[in-house]
Symmetry: none
Amino acid sequence: MDKKSVETSVKNEELIRKRRDQMVKAAVKLFTEKGFHRTTTREIAKASGFSIGTLYEYIRSKDDVLYLVCDDIYRQVNTRIKEKIDVKGDGLACLKDAIATYIKIVDEMRSEMLVMYQEAKSLSKESLPYVLNKELEMAGVFEDILGLCVQSGQIGLAEPEVRFFAQHIIVQCQMWTFRRWALRGYTLEEFTQMQINAIMGGLTSINKAELSV
Amino acid sequence: MDKKSVETSVKNEELIRKRRDQMVKAAVKLFTEKGFHRTTTREIAKASGFSIGTLYEYIRSKDDVLYLVCDDIYRQVNTRIKEKIDVKGDGLACLKDAIATYIKIVDEMRSEMLVMYQEAKSLSKESLPYVLNKELEMAGVFEDILGLCVQSGQIGLAEPEVRFFAQHIIVQCQMWTFRRWALRGYTLEEFTQMQINAIMGGLTSINKAELSV
Amino acid sequence: MDKKSVETSVKNEELIRKRRDQMVKAAVKLFTEKGFHRTTTREIAKASGFSIGTLYEYIRSKDDVLYLVCDDIYRQVNTRIKEKIDVKGDGLACLKDAIATYIKIVDEMRSEMLVMYQEAKSLSKESLPYVLNKELEMAGVFEDILGLCVQSGQIGLAEPEVRFFAQHIIVQCQMWTFRRWALRGYTLEEFTQMQINAIMGGLTSINKAELSV
Amino acid sequence: MDKKSVETSVKNEELIRKRRDQMVKAAVKLFTEKGFHRTTTREIAKASGFSIGTLYEYIRSKDDVLYLVCDDIYRQVNTRIKEKIDVKGDGLACLKDAIATYIKIVDEMRSEMLVMYQEAKSLSKESLPYVLNKELEMAGVFEDILGLCVQSGQIGLAEPEVRFFAQHIIVQCQMWTFRRWALRGYTLEEFTQMQINAIMGGLTSINKAELSV
DNA sequence: GATGAATGAGAGTTCATTCAT
DNA sequence: GATGAATGAACTCTCATTCAT
C-alpha cells in the first residue's frame, strides 16, 4: 500500500501530485491547530484552495486525508534521514551525529510529527500497519548504526537489545515534540547535548551497569 | 480546580462518587476502543449503566467526561506512586526501584494511560494546564530521587539537568504504553531490565561520556 | 373552570393557596425575564422556594403554571378595577376617571400584564377561552360606563359601537405596556392626559365626525 | 443589518432569495399555527420543501428564521405603504385614506403581523432593535401626515403629541390582528369606519377637549 | 476536472415529568 | 407532603459525502 493506493477519479498524475500537496499542507496546518476530528472537510478544501467537490475528486473519504498526511510526513522524514545520515565509519561517532541530526529533523518538522503522533490512532485498520511500518523503517537506521558499533566491538548488545535501543533513542528524540510543554526551559542545543549524554552514556556503560544490578 | 469542580445538579456526594466511578470506568473502556471523538455520550451512558439524561445530571458536557477520566487516572497513578515509592536511603538503589515500580504501575494502568496521552490534547483550555500540572507533580518524585543521588555525590547533575532527566525517565517508562506495537517481542521484565540498564547506565556515565563527546 | 380546576394531590386548601402564591410570584418574575418557553420548571420550583417534586404536587403540567399566572393577574386586575372604578354619576366624568384609573393599574402591573399578553397564546385550548372571558369581563366595565353616557344622552352610540369603543379604550390603555419602547419619552401623567384627550375627543365628536366623513 | 446579514454557506444570491422565500412562507404558516417555540426546525425545513441540512445552509440558527420572517414582513408592509399612501394634499383627507389603507394592509397580512407581534420578543438582542426601528419607520408615515395637518392648521398638535398620536393610530389599526377574538362581530368595513370616526374625532376635537378636562 | 447545493444520519444536550424514598 | 435522582423523547445543529451542472 503506497501513495497511489488512494484512489482518484482524476487521471492526470501531475495534477494529482499538485492537488495533494496543497491538501496535505493545508491539512497539517489545520490538524495542528484543532486536531483531525475537529477539522471539517470543508475547511480542508477551502484551505487547500479548491472546492469540496474537488477535494473528493482526490480522496475517497476524510480518513484518506489523514493517511496522505502521515504518508507525506514519513516520506519527508525518511528523505531527510537518508540525505543526512550515513551509516558508516566509526560507530559511536556515527550514532552521535545521527542523534543530533534526527533531533534537528524532528525540530524542523515539529508540527507535522506532533499531528502524526496524536492522530495516527485514527487511521483505518488498513492504513495503520503501513504507517507503523514506516516508523520501523526509520528505526532501522538506528539499528544499523548500533549494529556498526556492535560489529566494531564498541558496544556489546544482542540483537533484541539493539532493536530495543533503537526505539529508546527514537522516543527520546521525538520527545522534543510531544513533551514540549515540559521542555520549555531548554534550547534545541541544550536538549540535544543532554540527550546525547544520556543516551550514549547509558549505552557505553551497559556492561558495568548490568553487573551492578 | 479538582474533581468537585465539575458541576452537578445532583446533591448527594456519595452518589456523585459512585456514578462518576461507573462513568469513568465505562469511558476509559470506550475511549480505549475507539477514542474520545468516536465515542458518543449515549454509549458512555449505556456502558455506565444509566440513561443519557442521568449522565448529564453528573456532567455539563462531553468534555467533562474526558476531564474526569484524566483526573481519575492521575489520582490513581499518584496514589500508587506515593504508596510504593519511597524517596530515601541509597539514591541509586532508590532510583532503580522507582523505575521498576513506575513501569509496573504503567503496565497495570496501560489502557488508562494510553487514553490519557492520546486524548489529553482535546481537553479544554482550562483543564489542560491542570492535567499537565499533575504530570509535573509526578515528575517531581523522580526529581526528588535524583536530588538524593546528587546530594550523596552519586551523580553529578546541575538543577536543569535533573529536571530534564526526570522527564527522560518518565518518557522511557511510559513508552511501554504508547510504543507497545514496537515492543511486542519483550516481556515486562525484559523491558524493565533494559530500561534500567539504559537509563542508569546513561546516568552514571555522564561525566565520562561528556569527556568523550 | 376556575382556580380550583387545576388538580392537586395536596388536600390542605390553605397550603395550596400559599404554595401557588409563591409559584405565581416566581413565575411572573421568570416569565418577564425570559418568557414562558425559555423558563424551565426547575427554575420555577427553585425560585418558588421548593423542589421540583413539590412543584408537581400543585400542578399537573407546566401549562398549568401559565394558566395560574394569567388567572392570578386577572384576579388582581379585576379586584382593583372593582375597588376603584364606580359606574355611576356623570357618564363622561366617570369615563375620564376610569381611563386614568385603568392606566394606573396597568402601570402598576406592567410586567404581569406584559407577560400575559405575550404568553396567553400558549395557553391550552381549554384555558384560553376562560382567560379571554376575563378580559371581556373587564371590557364590560367600560361598556357599562359608555352605556351610562348613552343613557344620559351625552353621546350617541348604538350597541355594537359601544362594544367596539370599550375595546378601543382598553387597547389604548394597555398600549402603555406593550408599546413601552415607543413611549419612552412620556411620563405616566403625559400619557394619561394624551389618551384621555384622544379617546374622549373621539367619543364626543363622533356625530360631527360621522357627518364630515 | 439587513436581509443579507444572515450568513449563508450558499453563494448563489438568486437561490438564496428563492429558498428564503420558501422558508419564510413556511415559517409564517407554522408560527401562526403553533408559535415559534413549538415549531421545530425540521418542520420548517419540511414545510419549506427541503431537508434539514439544506435549511441550515441558509441560516445559522433557528433564531435567524424568526429574524428573516420579521424582516420580510416589514419589507412587505413598508412596500405596500409606500405604494399606496401618499403624503400630500389635504391633511385630514390624506389621514383618513391612510388609516383605511393601513387597516386594509393589516387585514391582508393578518397572520404575518400577528406572528410578528407575538414572537418579536424572542428575537436576539441584536435583531430586536433593528425590527423595532422598522416599526418606527412605519409610524413615521403617520407622523408625516399629521405634520401636514398641523402645517395647514387643520389640527393643533405639538411635536411630542404628533409622535404619540402616530402610535395611537398604528395600535388601533393593528388591533384588527391581535384583538381579533374581540372583534368577531364586525366586518372589515365596519371596523374601518369606526376607527376612522374614533381616531379622527379625537384628533380634530383635541383643542376643545383640552378645555373641558 | 471543477463546482457547490443538497442530503440526512447522527451528534450533543435539554427538560418536563415520574416515583421511590 | 416533600424530595430529588432518574428517565428518554425530542430538540437544535453539524458535517461527510454525493451528484447534477
